[in-house]
Subunit: 429 residues, 2 copies
C-alpha cells in the first residue's frame, strides 16, 4: 500500500469506492468466523484423540502402586511430576501438577497471596492499601483481567524486540514497594511472538527489588509450541533466580491446553522449594488432590519428553501454513508500508499487527461488520487501553485455510479502507 500523501483527494475517493465494493461483496458472503482467541483447530485436536483411549478398565495404577482412581497425592503423580519437571527444566520437588489450566493456577496463586503472607511473611496483599503489577503490553488479556478483578493496579510496560523494557522495569521495582508482580509470557509471547533474550531474563532474575514479596509470573504457555525447525531458546529463570539468591522470585506456569485438549489437559506450577512448600500447605486446605487419572492418561499418551516434542511437530505441520498465509498476505499488501508492521513469530499462537495510530478499533469494527470476530482492539493492554490504538491480535490457528484466506482478505480491505478514510478526514479538516 503506497503512502497516502502522494494521492489526490479524488484518487483516494476512487480507491475507497473500489475497495468498498470489494468489501460489500465480502459482506454478502455472510462470513461467520471467530478469530478472537488462540484456539486449536479440529485437525490439531485430532492429533490427541488416542488420549481418549489411553486408559482402560484395567489400567489405573501408577508407579509406586498408586491407585489413581482414589483420593490423595496433592501435588500430582510422581511420574507426571518427573515428566513435567523435565519439560520445564526444574527438579521434581520444585513442581506441582494440578488442575486443568495454568490460568486457574495463576488466579489461585494470586488469590492466596492476597489472603496469606508469602514465605517472606510480608502483609497479605489484600490488607495493603494498594498493590501494583507490571504489565508488558501488548500482553495476554486474561492476565490483565485477573488484576482488574482483584483490584491490582496495572502499570503498562513497553515491549522491545527482546522482551519488556528492562530499564523501566528495573527503575520501577527498585523504588516502589507496592509493586508485587510482573506478568511475563517469555516465549513466543502472546501476542507479540517474541522470546525474551538472555539479557532480559538475566536482568529480571538479578535486578534489585524493593518489595521482598515481589514475584515474576512466568507464564511459559508456549514453551514447546514451535513453528520452525530452529526454535527460540529461553534461559532457565528459576535457575538464574537461585544463582542470584532470589530463589523465591519466580513462579513458572504451563499446561497442555494447546498440546492435548484445552480444558481436559493438565497444568503445572514450578518454583523454589520454599514457594512450593508454601503453596502445597495452602492448597491442602482447598483440595485433596487433582485428577490423577487424567495425569496418568497424559503419561501413557506422551510416554516421555521426546513424545511431547514429536507431538508438537505434528501441531506445527498443521499451523505453519496458516501462519504463512497470514504473513504472506500482510507482506503482499503492506510490505512497502512503513507505518504498518507485524510480528513473524517462531512459535506460539498469534501474529501481532500494528496499524498506523488510531486505526485498530475501527478496523476490528469493520471486520466484525462483515462477520469476522477479532480480539477486541485494546484487549491486549491493561484496562483495554491501547495508548496508540494500533495493535490487532491475529489468531490464525482455528479457521480452516480457506476461511482464514477470506478473513485476511477482509482484514486487509478493512485496514486499507480505514487508512484512506482517516486520510480523507485529515485532508478535509
Amino acid at each position: 500500500m503506497p503512502t497516502m500523501e502522494y494521492f489526490s483527494i479524488d484518487s483516494l475517493e476512487e480507491t475507497h469506492s473500489s475497495l468498498s465494493n470489494k468489501y460489500k461483496n465480502l459482506q454478502e458472503k455472510h462470513l461467520k468466523l471467530n478469530m478472537s482467541r488462540g484456539i486449536p483447530c479440529k485437525e490439531q485436536l485430532n492429533l490427541s484423540n488416542s488420549l481418549l483411549e489411553a486408559l482402560d478398565s484395567h489400567d489405573y495404577i501408577s508407579a509406586n502402586d498408586i491407585d489413581c482412581r482414589n483420593y490423595g497425592i496433592l501435588d500430582g503423580l510422581p511420574e507426571i511430576k518427573a515428566l513435567c519437571a523435565e519439560l520445564l527444566e526444574v527438579n521434581p520437588q520444585e513442581i506441582i501438577v494440578a488442575g486443568n489450566s495454568s490460568l486457574m493456577l495463576e488466579y489461585d496463586l494470586i488469590t492466596k497471596a492476597m489472603l496469606h503472607p508469602l514465605p517472606e511473611k510480608a502483609t497479605p496483599w489484600s490488607k495493603l492499601p494498594k498493590i501494583k503489577f507490571l504489565c508488558p503490553s501488548p500482553g495476554y488479556d486474561r492476565h490483565f483481567s485477573i488484576c482488574a478483578d482483584l483490584g491490582i493496579e496495572m502499570i503498562p510496560i513497553k515491549y522491545h524486540s527482546d522482551g519488556p523494557d528492562m530499564d523501566m522495569v528495573e527503575k520501577l521495582v527498585a523504588e516502589d514497594t507496592s509493586i508485587k508482580g510482573i506478568w511475563c509470557v517469555p516465549k513466543y509471547s502472546n501476542p507479540t511472538g517474541i522470546t525474551y533474550s538472555d539479557t532480559v531474563v538475566k536482568r529480571l532474575a538479578t535486578m534489585p527489588v524493593k518489595a521482598p514479596d515481589f514475584r515474576i509470573f512466568w507464564d511459559n504457555a508456549y514453551a514447546v509450541h514451535h513453528l520452525s525447525n530452529t526454535p527460540d531458546k529461553l534461559l532457565n529463570i528459576l535457575s538464574l533466580c537461585k544463582q542470584a539468591n532470589h530463589p523465591n522470585r519466580v513462579f513458572i506456569f504451563a499446561s497442555t491446553s494447546k498440546i492435548t485438549f484445552p480444558g481436559s489437559g493438565i497444568a503445572m506450577v514450578a518454583s523454589s522449594e520454599e514457594n512450593i512448600a508454601w503453596l502445597k500447605k495452602l492448597t491442602s486446605v482447598q483440595t485433596i488432590g487433582p485428577d490423577k487419572l487424567n495425569q496418568l492418561r497424559h503419561l501413557r499418551f506422551f510416554k516421555d519428553c521426546a513424545g511431547i516434542e514429536a507431538h508438537m511437530q505434528r501441531h506445527a505441520a498443521i499451523l505453519a501454513p496458516k501462519f504463512k498465509l497470514v504473513l504472506n498476505t500482510l507482506q503482499e499488501h503492506f510490505g512497502d508500508t512503513p507505518a504498518i508492521s507485524w510480528s513473524n513469530p517462531h512459535g506460539g499462537y498469534f501474529i501481532s499487527l500494528n496499524t498506523p495510530p488510531g486505526c485498530a478499533k475501527k478496523v476490528v469494527e469493520k471486520v466484525a461488520a462483515a462477520g469476522v470476530v477479532l480480539t477486541p482492539a485494546g484487549a491486549t493492554f491493561p484496562y483495554g487501553l491501547d495508548p496508540e490504538d494500533r495493535n490487532i491480535r491475529i489468531a490464525p490457528t482455528y479457521p480452516p485455510l480457506e476461511e482464514l484466506k477470506q478473513a485476511m482478505e477482509l482484514l486487509v480491505l478493512s485496514l486499507k479502507l480505514v487508512i484512506i478514510e482517516q486520510e480523507l478526514a485529515r485532508r478535509k479538516q
Copy 2:
C-alpha cells in the same frame, strides 16, 4: 460392658490385665490400617471402571454439537447440567458443574466472598475486622480447616438428633452481623449420620438473619449415598429459601467423588440465579472452562438419574456389611453401657462414636499404637477441640471386612482399657 462402680479395684485390675494381654496380642500382629478418612474401597472403585472406557477416539461431541475437546462452556455441558440439576432438584440455570471436588468449589466460593462483595453489595469479608461461621459439631474437619485457613472465627453449634441446635442458630444469626455463614452436611451428616428434619430445614430457610450477605453452605455430599432401602428424605432448601424471599441464602454443593472416582469425578454448586450469575462472572476471570470430556464421560456412564440410583445401590451392597459389622461389634460390647453411644446412619460414610467424657484422645492414641490410624480425636470440632473429648469418627468403608473386624476388636479393647484406667485413676486419687 457393665458399669464400673460395681467392681472392686482388684477386679478392675484383673480385667485390665486380661484385656492388656489381648491388646498386646493384637499389637504383635503389626496391623497397618488407615481408617482416618471416608475413602471408598477397591470394590467400590471397580463399580466405575467402565467410566475409563466411556469415551473413545470417535466420541467427544456433546449435544448442541459441542466439541468437548476444545475450549469453552464455563458452567458445564448443558447435558450434564440438566442431569445434575435433576439430582439436586434445582433448575439447570441454577447450577454450575465444574472442577473435580466440591471442597474446592466451597473454598473458592468463600475466597471469592472474601475478596468481592456478594450480590447484596456488602463489604468483601476480608475487609471486615472479623467474620464468623456457625459450625454444627461434630462436623466435617475440612470445612473447619477452610475457616481456620482464612481467619474465619468458628462458633461450635451442638447437634440434636434432627440437626443443629436451631434455637442457638436463630439466636446468634439474628443479632450478630459478623456471622456470615453456617456449614451444613444436611444428609447422612459427616460424622453424625443424621439427616436434617423438615423443621430444621424450614427454620434455616426462614429465620431472620442480621447480615444481608449471610450464606448457608449446604454440602450435600451424601445426597444419594443410602445404606438402606428406606432412604432419608431431605427438604429442598433452595426452594424453601425462594419461598421465604431469601433466594440467595443458600449455596448447595455436591460431587461424584464417592459415586465414581474421588479426584476424577465431577463437582457442582447450585443456588439462586442471582448467586449463580455472580459466581459465573467471577469464575470467568479464573478459568475458561471445566474438563468437559470428563463431564461427557460421566454422562455416558450414568445415562440418567436412574442410572445413578442403580449405581448407588451397588455401592450400598458393598458398604452395608461393613457398617453392620461395626454396629454389631459396638452393640455386642457396649449395648448395655449408657455412657457410650453411637450413630446408626441410613447412609453416608461414617459412624460417630461417643465415649465417656475424657476418653476419645486416649483411645485414638491406643488404637494408633497398635497400627490403626483413626481420625484424630477432636478433628471433627472447630479448632480440633472436642469440649468433652468423647467423639470418635469411625470410617468403615475402606478396609476389607476381615481387617475392619480386627480394627473394631482393637477399638473395643482400647476403649475398655481407657475406661478402666480412668476408673482406676479416679479411685486411687
